[in-house]
Symmetry: C2
Subunit: 203 residues, 2 copies
Amino acid sequence: MDLATCLKKMKLVGVLAFATVDSEGAPQIRNISAIHYEPDALYFFTARGKNFCKELMEDGRVQILAYTKYKEMIRLSGKAYAAAENEQKKWMDIIFEEQPYLANVYPGDTREIGIIFCIDKAEVEYFNLGVNPIFRETYILGDISVKEKGYYITESCIGCGKCMRHCPQKCIEKGTPFVIRQEHCLHCGNCYENCPVKAVIRK
Amino acid sequence: MDLATCLKKMKLVGVLAFATVDSEGAPQIRNISAIHYEPDALYFFTARGKNFCKELMEDGRVQILAYTKYKEMIRLSGKAYAAAENEQKKWMDIIFEEQPYLANVYPGDTREIGIIFCIDKAEVEYFNLGVNPIFRETYILGDISVKEKGYYITESCIGCGKCMRHCPQKCIEKGTPFVIRQEHCLHCGNCYENCPVKAVIRK
């Protein structure tokens, strides 16, 4: 898998879930399909009067989730910002042309209540629960650095193999220390809870 | 539409998007299908080592989104809590029985890393973009009160009709004052932006 394929899959899924936080710090989620994909950015449409727009303006952090028919989850985490004033019309026209149903929702010039947001820096996580063992990988859109996540076995490992026996995905390999195959890890924490010497750390 | 039908539709969709907030106040979203539906509560499974579990333990606020093949969005907002200790096994067994694929992900007794959360008080919003005009309604699960949302026209209305002409869904009716048919309102804000006397308020 790679970034371009993930974006293509998101486009194929079409209707995605967008999560933001509101002014009270509560999670907010809704479906958005008015999205245009460029190789290096996503542009999406909403209306200025929606809480979604308010949340994007005030905070901007957004996670976008696509679930494919092959049981793949693709999750994009980034910060959205309002596209430049002089590009608003261009992207709006493209999105309305690509998705004719939008003209039923916002007929004629009522689309002028719309606003285009852009995301051009994001972490894109691919997670496939439909294969055995499960498979995950992370890709980067734009110029950002991302934090490592998940569980890792440190030098404190005594090689007892308890983690390996408790791993639902059998993704821990023998070694000094033992090693978690990150691309197959569920992040369930069973190795962490069962290690007798606390050699497993969580990042 | 009603609450029971919404829950039935969520169950039919199967794989839902769950949004929470992390310890940095950022939105987090993932797909969850390990859900069991009772008429008055939802129970769902995750693993204790997942960030999702941490977010539920630390904050608990969650929004769940289902998108049906009929372009309906169903959004449940509530607070999740860990089910009682002596009920954990019962709900876990039910969920694993209803969804056999889970035993591939967590084979044998590795499911013991799981934890069951419950939501029994929630606001459930139904939003159908596939009809014209669009249709929305809110239902309540359990004993909670919810805040009114959206746009309302106050007594300051001068009856000029500008809001009506700008409404993409034609859901504003003449009157003294004019009235927004809440069940058909997009919450786009076009009436609010175009009212010459600021008679439209946002809740």
